[in-house]
């Protein structure tokens, strides 16, 4: 399964033995691989068709730059083209001249509208604004309760009561926002199929009556080829201004992003990265491009690490990963930081070869690691033992267990997990060389 595009292209060009200039002949096979990679990433086949043509037009005739192999050169062209088509980053939802700014979320059933509504509310509240939510999904059982619960957690008011019609709820919410000076107003609408005319009519009515400033289409990142139909129909029937891509914390390659962007021409404003209300991030085309191409999302990883730790610590970790100089003390620090970063498997999932790191996630999940106990165990070791855990024999284990008020099994478990992480890092080291060597956008930091 895992076979990043660059590796595959490398194989193609190795076979061709070509160097120098990219010609129509020598990139033909490479383009086939590009096409396959995009299809595997769920980019719609029609979008792929156009895309490959553009890449071809752009690549043919290019001299292969001194520092790059032909494969890398093609990856670079593909990547650049993808970034361009995915559009700019940090699309801002401009505030209305006369508040409240009104955001309206629409999409298929189960795409994540309600959770995303709450995430947006949290985001604006954190920026010092006073958002208000409208629970306009009167159809799905307990959808209103869901938004109410989330609103209560965030301290954001939620408008809408059983028995009211969606338009009525939106109107009441707009009045309440105006009266209390709340902005933005976020309308959570019911999920519906893009071919359900009666339900689309409801959205059209809300749109024309309430006049939202931004209609946001919420799309599940795991969507396949159908993403174009969904985006096109919603755009035709209701009109959309921007897109939010949800469930990007999984391992889907997210090709739907390109499809949706291509058929609607609308920017992707945010990506959802988890179930919690803080898991909403700005869209970065370069990262999604790397992901679509199966090259992982190393930049996000590094940024995540930076959020939790400071820049210097992050660099230090990368250095230690590279040099295999990772002690038990580092292990303890990592466990602490990983807990702030999110589960380690999620972090690893962002690496291009994350899935190759076998045996790690299960045992090393931060939630599983009993941090307090580990802390105590490591605290009972001598500095020598921490730096050279291989000297920890049976009697030392007993001493450490006694000193930390834990059992020998606990000590064993810790040592085992540490050993696994070390092993994993060795794999990491071995694999690192397989990444394209030149400075492709998307993964500068991991190479020194």
């Amino acid at each position: 399964m895992f076979d990043s595009l660059s590796t595959r292209l490398q194989a193609v060009f190795d076979r061709l033995g070509s160097r120098g200039r990219l010609t129509e002949d020598n990139i033909q096979e490479a383009l086939r691989e590009v096409r396959l990679a995009l299809l595997e990433a769920d980019v719609n086949f029609k979008v792929v068709r156009g895309f490959v043509e553009r890449v071809k037009a752009r690549a043919v005739g290019q001299d292969v730059l001194g520092s790059l192999t032909p494969a890398q050169q093609v990856v670079k062209v593909v990547h650049d083209e993808l970034v361009e088509l995915l559009g700019g980053s940090g699309h801002r939802l401009s505030p209305a001249q006369h508040p409240p700014t009104i955001l309206m979320l629409i999409g298929l059933q189960g795409s994540g509208k309600t959770t995303t509504s709450a995430k947006l509310a949290r985001l604006y509240a954190k920026q010092g604004q006073h958002p208000v939510l409208a629970a306009a999904d009167i159809y799905r059982p307990a959808a209103m309760d869901q938004l109410r619960t989330l609103g209560a957690q965030l301290g954001v008011p939620v408008v809408g009561a059983p028995g009211q019609r969606p338009l009525e709820i939106c109107r009441a919410a707009r009045e309440e926002a105006a009266a209390r000076g709340l902005t933005p107003l976020i309308l959570d609408t019911a999920g519906r199929l893009h071919i359900d005319e009666a339900m689309l009519d409801e959205l059209r009515t809300i749109r024309s009556e309430i006049r939202p400033h931004h209609v946001l289409l919420v799309v599940d990142a795991m969507t396949g080829q159908d993403a174009v139909n969904v985006a096109d129909r919603f755009n035709q029937a209701v009109g959309i201004d921007a897109v939010i891509l949800t469930k990007m914390d999984g391992d889907s390659r997210g090709g739907a992003a390109l499809s949706v962007r291509q058929v609607t021409g609308r920017p992707i404003a945010f990506v959802g990265m988890g179930e919690k209300t803080e898991a909403l991030e700005p869209f970065h085309p370069d990262r999604v491009a790397s992901r679509i191409l199966g090259m992982g999302d190393v930049l996000s990883l590094v940024e995540k690490a930076q959020e939790a730790v400071d820049q210097k610590t992050a660099e230090e970790l990368v250095r230690k990963l590279r040099e295999d100089a990772f002690t038990l003390e580092d292990f303890r620090d990592q466990l602490k930081q990983v807990r702030q970063m999110g589960p380690l498997d999620q972090v690893l999932g962002m690496l291009p070869f994350g899935k190759l790191l076998k045996g790690a996630p299960r045992e090393l999940s931060a939630e599983q690691a009993d941090l307090a106990r580990f802390d105590a165990i490591i605290g009972s070791m001598t500095p020598q033992e921490r730096r050279h855990p291989e000297i920890i024999n049976g009697s030392r284990r007993q001493r450490i267990a006694r000193g930390s008020g834990t059992s020998v099994q606990d000590v064993n478990r810790l040592l085992k997990q540490y050993a696994q992480l070390r092993k994993m890092m060795k794999q990491f080291k071995g694999l690192e060389g397989k990444l394209p060597r030149a400075g492709l956008p998307g993964f500068p930091t991991l190479r020194g």
């Binding site: 309760d145 071919i195 599940d220 080829q225 469930k247 889907s252 498997d345 999620q346 999940s365």
Partner: protein, 308 residues
Amino acid sequence: MKFLAALGEQLSTGLRRSREYLAAELAAVLRPERPIDESLYTELEEILVAADLGAPLAADFTNRAREEVMFGTVTRADQLRPLFRRFLGDILVPAAQPLDLDHRPAVVLMLGVNGSGKTTTCAKLAAALTRSEKQVLLAAADTFRAAAIEQLEAWGDRIGVEVVRQEPGSDPAAVVFDAVKAATARNLDALIIDTAGRLHTKSNLMMELAKLKRVIERQLPGAPHESLMVLDAPTGQNGFAQARMFNEAIGLSGVVLTKLDGTAKGGIVVRIARELRLPIKLVGVGEKVEDLGPFDPQRFIDALVPAA
């Protein structure tokens, strides 16, 4: 699976929509007079990919087509149509299996990624069983998502089925323990357990699910009798990773394919059935309780590749 009346009108309308999308394109490629050349193979492959069958499966079929053409068993483009229907039939007919509910209580564990339709499917299944005079209990083991318990309870009220629940945030294993105990003590026909949605990449959440299953196993040997992964039809190639990882972590007895009433064809289940040999047991074709039926491979194939 007599209790799930073979789906009538509803399913046909749902599937017809998907059918219309693909049919026209396919008809254009498989015109009898169209010469069989590289461009035909390419277009055919694209149509198969458009149904979310995945590039490898599409390539396998076109290679098979090439062989048949080479051996002279296929000479006209329209003969590729029955060939493809057979190709799909070989994969899907063995995959279409009924639910195993011949236990007392029969325990069904519903799982899958967020928003795929687990809660709705639990309610639909409970309603179908109730309609055929079975005594059913629902368990609200999604204690995580806001108002997930209320959602299942609302369904329970609507269909007249009791829901075992605890407070939001409580241990799902405790809910399940209570539910299995109640279902056993009351000698009910079936217990259907709704779980929290989770992405297959979150190992801690997958372990939680595995634990849930162990709790059931320990309490009632042989249970759960069905561990069903709910997958929605719009899902692309990631659906394969979902099935593989849920199967590895939990052990699945089958897949439920929901939201077939949209334009998506759910082609990813072909790959799941083919490579993972997982049965496809149920389909969801709408939001109402009656919109659930057994997986019918012939109808599914008709929707992907109409007979003519």
